[in-house]
């Protein structure tokens, strides 16, 4: 990709031509930047690679010694061990139901609890399907699953594990705050809240739920999908989105949006306004919108009335012109393909990830009972 094309892809900013030096050190040097580079260079990383320990590679069947694979004694030995171990296995399954699958729990501070048991530093606990983890006002905990990610649990939080099925890890956050760092592929980690389902489409986000069931997600890396009753929001990094019980996800907004913009947007999303009030709030949103608010305008296209949609279309068009294949008439009738094309033109991740997830999983209702 040429540098010119990269410049064209800049989603939110008109970039001055003289910042080539800032971008890649080319072009006319910026004396102030050169001074800063010279001064700050003393903090630069210089330590060579350490000697890393040997870590045994994962061994598959093909790496087993040839003789062991063909040993005639092996099947007989396996059968004998299986017969002897069967009663023990059956007994253990009866006495410890669903205790194997789940998340490792560790204490970070205070006295977090799994059900009634307080987690201490002496042992690693397991949070299995159906179990509840709670922290009080002084407690913090951490969940870890090798192939999924890590979740930091803040004080006054209550969460439950709903599913640990391969390909879909699902927990319910009843209240409190969690920070998630997910390295599983997009769409594999889902959090139910009382007001929306949160689907991880990236790496890191913070999710908060208050006692009324209202929620807020803030994405710090990758992107997150929020969904309830067919209403969906996509929250890329640098953006946030609130949810309300029964209403579902609100409209995502850039964290750099003005307070005026956010306040009017919150009224549009969650207040039972008259059509006149709604029009006034939309006028404020459109008037205060900047290029970085294209994310919000794109979402509003499918949330406002048909009359208002024309206004939103025109304003979004000013910031990010509709790409080839996207027609005004199509957008006004909410043509999904055209909306998705425009989303891509905003510079965000491929929305087809979300569309595939929607097709493959229909369990979008949030956890109802606490």
């Amino acid at each position: 990709m040429t540098r010119d094309r990269e410049k064209d892809q800049t989603p939110n900013e008109s970039v001055a031509g003289h910042d080539d030096y800032l971008w890649d050190g080319s072009g006319e040097p910026d004396p102030e930047m050169q001074r800063l580079e010279g001064i700050l260079g003393r903090f630069r990383h210089t330590r060579p690679a350490p000697v890393f320990p040997n870590v045994a590679p994962a061994r598959g069947w093909t790496s087993f010694p040839w003789r062991m694979r063909l040993s005639p004694a092996l099947p007989i030995s396996v059968a004998v061990v299986a017969i002897l171990a069967a009663p023990v296995f059956v007994y253990q399954r009866k006495s410890v139901p669903a205790a194997v699958a789940g998340w490792d729990v560790s204490r970070v501070a205070g006295a977090p609890r799994v059900e009634r048991r307080i987690i201490d530093d002496a042992q690693t606990s397991r949070l299995a399907v159906g179990q509840v983890l709670e922290t009080d006002q002084q407690s913090r905990a951490r969940l870890h699953a090798e192939d999924i990610g890590q979740i930091e649990i803040e004080p006054s939080t209550r969460l439950r594990v709903l599913s640990v099925a391969p390909g879909l890890e699902r927990i319910a956050l009843d209240r409190g705050m969690i920070h998630t760092y997910i390295w599983a592929p997009p769409g594999r980690f889902v959090v139910d809240t009382p007001s929306a389902v949160t689907v991880d489409l990236g790496c890191a986000y913070t999710l908060q739920v208050d006692d009324s069931g209202a929620g807020l997600v803030r994405t710090s890396m990758g992107w997150v999908g929020f969904k309830l009753n067919g209403r969906e929001s996509f929250i890329p990094s640098g953006a946030a989105c609130a949810t309300r019980p029964k209403l579902g996800p609100g409209t995502p907004y850039s964290e750099e949006a003005s307070p005026e913009f956010r306040a009017a947007l919150a009224r549009l999303d969650f207040e039972d306004s008259t059509s006149q009030q709604s029009s006034e709030d939309l006028a404020i949103v459109l008037g205060a919108a900047r290029k970085g608010d294209a994310l919000t305008l794109w979402h509003l296209l499918s949330r406002v009335s048909e009359d208002q949609r024309v206004l939103v279309f025109d304003r979004l068009q000013e910031f990010v012109p509709a790409p080839a294949g996207v027609m005004k008439e199509g957008v006004l009738r909410l043509d999904q393909r055209m909306l998705d094309l425009w989303w891509k033109a905003l510079g965000f991740d491929d929305i087809s990830v979300w569309r595939r997830w929607e097709l493959s999983w229909s369990g979008a209702a949030p956890a109802g009972t606490k």
Binding site: M33, L36, C203, D210, W223, G347
Partner: protein, 213 residues
């Protein structure tokens, strides 16, 4: 204790920064993938090459968050954690984004495990080292400028440190962190604007004090 999110959300949003989104970098992703696969099979040289490729990025991510004299040790911790968990990485071409997440996580852990007193002592020890090492105004300036960068939002401080301290170009930052080139460009542009303004403001505040001395 009952709490409501209304105002809390705004303050939360206002006080916490955010990071840009990721993007696959096709040509280098192939190289990363083969190195990750080799490292997963026990090839330490391959992991060493990944270290060479990503150490500056990890260093910059940590430098944006933890005391200077802790950063080098934490860089090694990040790579040791990554080495142990390499078998769990499913998308090999996202090694950089995954490594960055480990680094940010470790930085968060650092502060969660430090008492306020420890944090204070650590900051003071850094200042002490700086004072001992300082051979002139430039040494003091370096600390002051780094402090100023750290006052910027998380979005900008990480990208600026990768550019100004680690000497990475915009395309390199995008390739290593998994951010889009557009996001990196915006972060650099806005971050630099904010840094210039903050440095000017700091200089104005310092001037009257110097005059009075």
């Amino acid at each position: 204790m009952a709490f409501s999110l209304g105002d809390t959300f705004d303050s939360l949003v206002a006080t916490q920064g955010a990071l840009p989104m990721r993007e696959k970098c096709a040509p280098e992703a192939l190289d990363d993938t083969s190195l990750v696969l080799a490292a997963r099979d026990g090839d330490r040289a391959a992991f060493g090459r990944l270290y060479d490729r990503y150490a500056r990025m990890v260093h910059g991510v940590l430098l944006a968050r933890v005391p200077v004299d802790e950063v080098d040790d934490l860089v090694q911790d990040v790579f040791l954690i990554a080495l142990r968990r390499l078998s769990t990485l499913r998308e090999n071409d996202r090694f950089g984004a995954w490594l960055g997440a480990i680094a940010r996580n470790l930085a968060n852990d650092y502060y969660r495990h430090s008492s306020p007193q420890q944090q204070l002592e650590e900051e003071m020890s850094v200042q002490k080292i700086e004072a001992v090492n300082s051979g002139g105004d430039q040494q003091c300036s370096a600390v002051a400028i780094l402090d100023t960068i750290r006052t910027l939002s998380e979005t900008y401080r990480e990208t600026l440190i990768l550019r100004l301290v680690e000497g990475m170009t915009g395309p390199e930052i995008a390739a290593r962190t998994g951010m889009t080139t557009g996001s990196v460009r915006v972060n650099l542009h806005r971050g630099m604007q904010q840094l210039r303004a903050a440095l000017r403001s700091r200089a104005r505040n310092d001037s009257p004090q110097q005059e009075s001395q």
